[in-house]
Symmetry: C2
Subunit: 683 residues, 2 copies
């Protein structure tokens, strides 16, 4: 017999002697196992693929757990959420509350970065049942003598339940004494009042028997991140383009000089494109030409040369000491360095000679070049992960991550992870986290939706997304509702990049400065994480004709920019980063709701905390050319106000303050002035 | 290293010697375990609570399994469904086909009543990848010399793959010889043609290496029923009311006399209300009065008296020999006997003395009476299932089921199962099925939706439903769409009772004969299983005023009816049972679709086989008083016809044949003539 059944046997009514129990029970394990779950706990959410993958939260973020909980018949039941932070062996307990239709829920927040767990217990609450039935009979004027005897029995059961602190057990013993005294003197009203007193209810919650205690079969894993995994603003650059002179290869020292500028815009992650030695074999020339000319610097994604591979630095950028200096200086500016982690190798990478078993050799002794159809990369070859390469390449790549963690880097933007095996990522992320739980991995995967979601499931903290190509109101609404309300909201956190060295979106090519301000407003306020690739603030848009690529791409040459040139949108960027940092509602990606604005060229939405103490409204025109206006609904109902209620409004971009009276209001946006409006409202 | 990795190592390219593999691999079990699942298999459906409960199908019914299947990169993959009938130890294999968006599917049908399983395998298909890449290069006019060498290598790999029958391996060896011959003579076209020939593709499917073979982590359980579990028409009666004389207690012999009549209506299950001895203590009088008068027969749900309990027969009904005779006679009429299984006991049940530990005793030595709030049952007491009663009552009840199975009964309508522990049902149903896999359990649970679903999950083959109270078009559509398209469609099969001794629906009380024909049409055609309680065919409707109960209920007295009296709807019943039995589309509960009929008083729907070879349309008026008509859409698109196409129509109730030309048609129903129409259509 299981403990639960044994326990059940000791409760509620005096057990009769029944010799068949022990005998037959031992013989029927299935019966015992099933019987232990009399109270059903099912439909637990969030839970990813039956607990196969962790739910994601960041330290301090709310986690609301729900489950269907019920038992046979009409008895009262109760339930509690058990949770455990990283490193803890004991469960903490928080009561669950009934929601509706057999659904129960509780909310907790984990505080520590690392692996955490939760599970659920539920039980038949004979104490509550007793109160319910006794009250009903008493209210109907019926005799409750028997009920009082049974109530006393429940208190006795509590004393022998082995629950509660010594103080609580003592209090329960005192309660029993008082009840017996009242019983002896025949004071029925006194017994009833004492048994139903608030203090008694409270005490029996702690010491009362939990009859037929069921335990949910799984301990659901939760990965608790540091906040930056869910809330970050990235600035991406090519270090070699930071000298200000196309004829001089930029250095880490040049990057350092840019830090005040980047800090002024309010970013918190500075992401460096690959900083490793670059191969010379099949090196790409400017504008992705197949032949490099004398002096062409090549693509930094062609990693590895005679100077070394993934654990080396391109000599022209500087030394490891210079790199360490940059990391420190960035930190001093509130910026965390992220590096690019691209697994492919140039044909000159040392691994090719050291580990031929990691590569795909053809019958003629050559290596297959990398392809990402329809793109071809003649200057790189891919490693493989199985056959002779397992587990040695797995270890080598893990060690490459750990190498850079030792150098002070904790954020990795991983190039094309969907072309490497999912099991490798699941393993290596877990391995790296054992050393550095604060490591953050961003998956640069633009591929089919289920593959992108799988990468998030196996551990990626952040994911590239389709945001870059979602422009219309319908597209943005549908996509954001999927990301913030469907199951993936519990494990996938997009990072909304407005552009990247690989993506010069058609919208930005054709919409001018207002278009850049629009995409900035959307990315910074819809995304928990968002990013810009340098040049965005200057409204750089020149494409390779007919393609989503940049002309004279920094991927193949050194560029120089005047970072404060006229027409820049640095002030907009600084504004939105300030809005993000100064309003609690912005911390959560899922705090989003779309509301009605009667104009399909205008996106209108709110970000707000569950308690509504931080409440922002955003009106963003999606049309960069013509003024747009329209009526919209102020969500007064979310603030507990009637349709004719009023709210205080702060227009954050202009600093104006006023009040809105009534639910329907009107706004007007001129793209040449400002294609967005941000309001902070308070009732 | 796992087998899969070992296998992966042997494929595609010659492995280099790498001493670190064996050493490190053995040390890293997590790595090996993860690496074995390179091809992702997730989102498997149907699967109930992560495989915790069985999917339900009946022998011969289609089961379509789908899953998200994909791997990293752009390689070709392939997948197969593995399934195993009851008693089989080897898997059968059927190829899965790509559906869309990384979803794959396959359809099988199990043939044997009992527990079955399925799972999924998937692999990287290097043979298909080779064909894809070689064709692309050849079509572009590029040299494919290297590809041909690699293609030959794949055939060599197939020979050493240990897959395929001896004949297939021999054929592969012959293929290799021919290829080597062509290669020696420099015939590149010949090699390419042979490598891409249909026969080669076919052969390599059987013998080719399945690289990175992944196996879904679970073997998903399927419970395969006999057909009657999913497709049955029930007729329910009180045996004691079958004498035709209110003054004479009916017998099994009287029931036998009614068999031709019940067979004529086309039913296939004859369900007898409880046939056990009835207690005398607190016996109920007529119309549920608390005091029985001299001669009152009491409720048959007050089970047990001095004559015995759950394994005894009420002496006035007959003997076990009479019962056996009835079972046989019913069988001869194509009718299967179902009995009522009600666990409660009258205060005179032998168990109370034999097993006091199975009952809830109060401090004054009395037993708690049964309640099902707001109803009270003073003539019965409930057993309990834990404390001193576990496992002895579990065994006793299992033995009661087995007792009746020995007597030839395989169908049990279980009374109020939701007031007994779910673990008990899960255990006892499994136990009974070990002896009789064809046993069918119908759950008479009218309670909260999740409890009803849980009973189906733990094993009940059929469930009472809310159908009895769903009358409007919106209600019926919403409820049927839930039942036939949501997850519960894979484990819950409702039995649509139009009435029961406990439920005299308001609709039937107030709608006259047309109302009875409407509810019959709906139940018989919407439900895979449906049932009527005798008297329905006579349009019996007299209620206890203001209640959904029958006046002069047979639950408390013997009644007598003229079973062919005027105004009966026996012909309608016979018609619908004929439609059910003669049309393949009716066999499946989920073959339902609702279509447009522009009148909210008319429900219009189809039942059709997946191949559309059996296609029925139903037009049912929901208004029993006034004629109703309207335009409706003939679902020509489901038959591959254009909007102006035409179909042959057989109006089954009238025997007329005609054609409909074009998608929009009109129909008219007069409740006094016939409130329904049934059409069989063929293109």
């Amino acid at each position: 017999m299981s403990d639960v059944i044994e326990k059940a046997k000791t409760t509620a009514a005096p057990p009769k002697s029944n010799p068949s129990v022990a005998k037959a029970g031992a013989a029927d394990e299935v019966l015992s196992k099933l019987a232990a779950d009399r109270v059903v706990i099912e439909g637990v959410a969030p839970e990813i693929d039956g607990g196969r993958f962790a739910v994601k939260r960041f330290a301090g973020e709310d986690l609301t757990v729900e489950a269907d909980i019920f038992a046979d018949g009409h008895d009262k039941i109760d339930a509690a959420l058990l949770y455990r932070e990283t490193g803890e062996s004991e469960w903490r307990e928080v009561p669950m509350a009934f929601v509706e239709n057999d659904r129960w829920g509780a909310t907790v927040a984990f505080s520590k970065n690392g692996p955490a767990h939760f599970t659920i217990i539920a039980w038949r609450d004979l104490n509550a049942l007793w109160r319910y039935e006794a009250k009903k009979k008493r209210d109907a004027g019926l005799d409750i003598t028997l009920e009082l005897v049974e109530g006393l029995g429940l208190v006795k059961d509590a004393i022998s339940s082995e629950r509660g602190t010594p103080e609580e057990v003592q209090a329960t013993q005192a309660l029993l004494k008082r009840l017996e005294g009242l019983s002896a003197s025949g004071d029925k009203d006194g017994q009833y009042e004492l048994l139903t007193a608030y203090e008694t209810v409270d005490l029996l919650y702690c010491t009362g028997v939990r009859t037929n205690l069921s335990r949910y079969e799984r301990q659901v894993p939760v990965w608790v991140d540091r906040e930056r995994a869910a809330f970050s603003a990235w600035y991406e650059l090519f270090p070699r383009s930071q000298s200000g002179d196309v004829n001089r290869h930029g250095t880490f020292a040049d990057v350092e000089k840019r830090l005040p500028d980047i800090k002024e815009m309010g970013f918190d992650v500075l992401y460096l494109l690959p900083i490793h030695p670059i191969g010379v074999t099949n090196r790409k020339g400017k504008n992705n030409s197949l032949k490099a000319l004398e002096g062409d610097v090549g693509s930094p994604y062609a990693i590895g040369g005679i100077e070394g591979g993934h654990d080396a630095i391109h000599p022209e950028l500087g030394t490891f000491a210079d790199f360490a200096h940059l990391v420190k200086a960035a930190e001093a500016h509130g910026l965390e360095i992220a590096i690019d982690f691209a697994i492919q190798c140039s044909p000159d990478h040392p691994w090719i000679k050291e580990h031929p078993e990691w590569f795909d050799w053809r019958p003629d002794g050559t290596i297959k070049f990398a392809e990402n159809p329809p793109k071809k990369y003649e200057d790189i070859v891919n490693v493989h992960f199985y056959r002779g390469a397992i587990p040695s390449i797995w270890y080598a790549l893990r060690d490459a991550f750990l190498f850079w963690i030792e150098k002070g880097v904790k954020i990795f933007r991983v190039d094309n992870p969907h072309t490497k095996p999912f099991p490798f990522w699941e393993w290596v992320i877990e391995e790296v986290r054992k050393v550095e739980p604060g490591a953050i991995f961003l998956a640069e995967a633009f591929t089919r939706p289920k593959m992108m979601k799988r990468l998030a499931k196996v551990g990626y903290n952040q994911s590239y997304s389709y945001f870059t190509w979602r422009n219309s109101k319908a597209e943005l609404t549908e996509y954001l509702e999927e990301l913030t309300t469907e199951e993936c909201a519990d494990y996938m956190r997009p990072n909304f990049f407005v552009n990247t060295p690989d993506i010069n979106p058609v919208f930005l090519q054709t919409s001018g400065r207002p278009g850049f301000r629009i995409r900035l407003a959307l990315a910074a306020t819809l995304g928990g994480n968002y990013g810009v690739y340098s040049g965005f603030e200057l409204c750089e848009y020149k494409p390779v004709k007919g393609k989503e690529e940049y002309l004279d791409s920094e991927k193949y040459e050194i560029r120089a920019f005047d970072w404060k040139r006229e027409g820049n949108i640095r002030e907009d960027i600084a504004f939105f980063n300030r809005v993000r940092n100064e309003n609690a509602a912005m911390k959560s990606f899922t705090s989003l709701a779309f509301f009605k604005f009667w104009n399909d060229n205008v996106l209108y939405y709110a970000k707000r905390t569950p308690d509504r103490s931080s409440y922002l409204l955003f009106i963003v025109s999606l049309n960069p050319f013509d003024p747009q206006g329209g009526h919209f609904e102020v969500p007064l109902w979310e603030l507990g106000l009637p349709d004719n209620g009023s709210v205080k409004v702060e227009a954050l971009a202009t600093g104006q303050s006023f009040r809105w009276h009534g639910k329907i209001q009107h706004w007007w946006l001129n793209p040449l002035e400002r294609p967005y409006a941000v309001f902070r409202i308070t009732p």
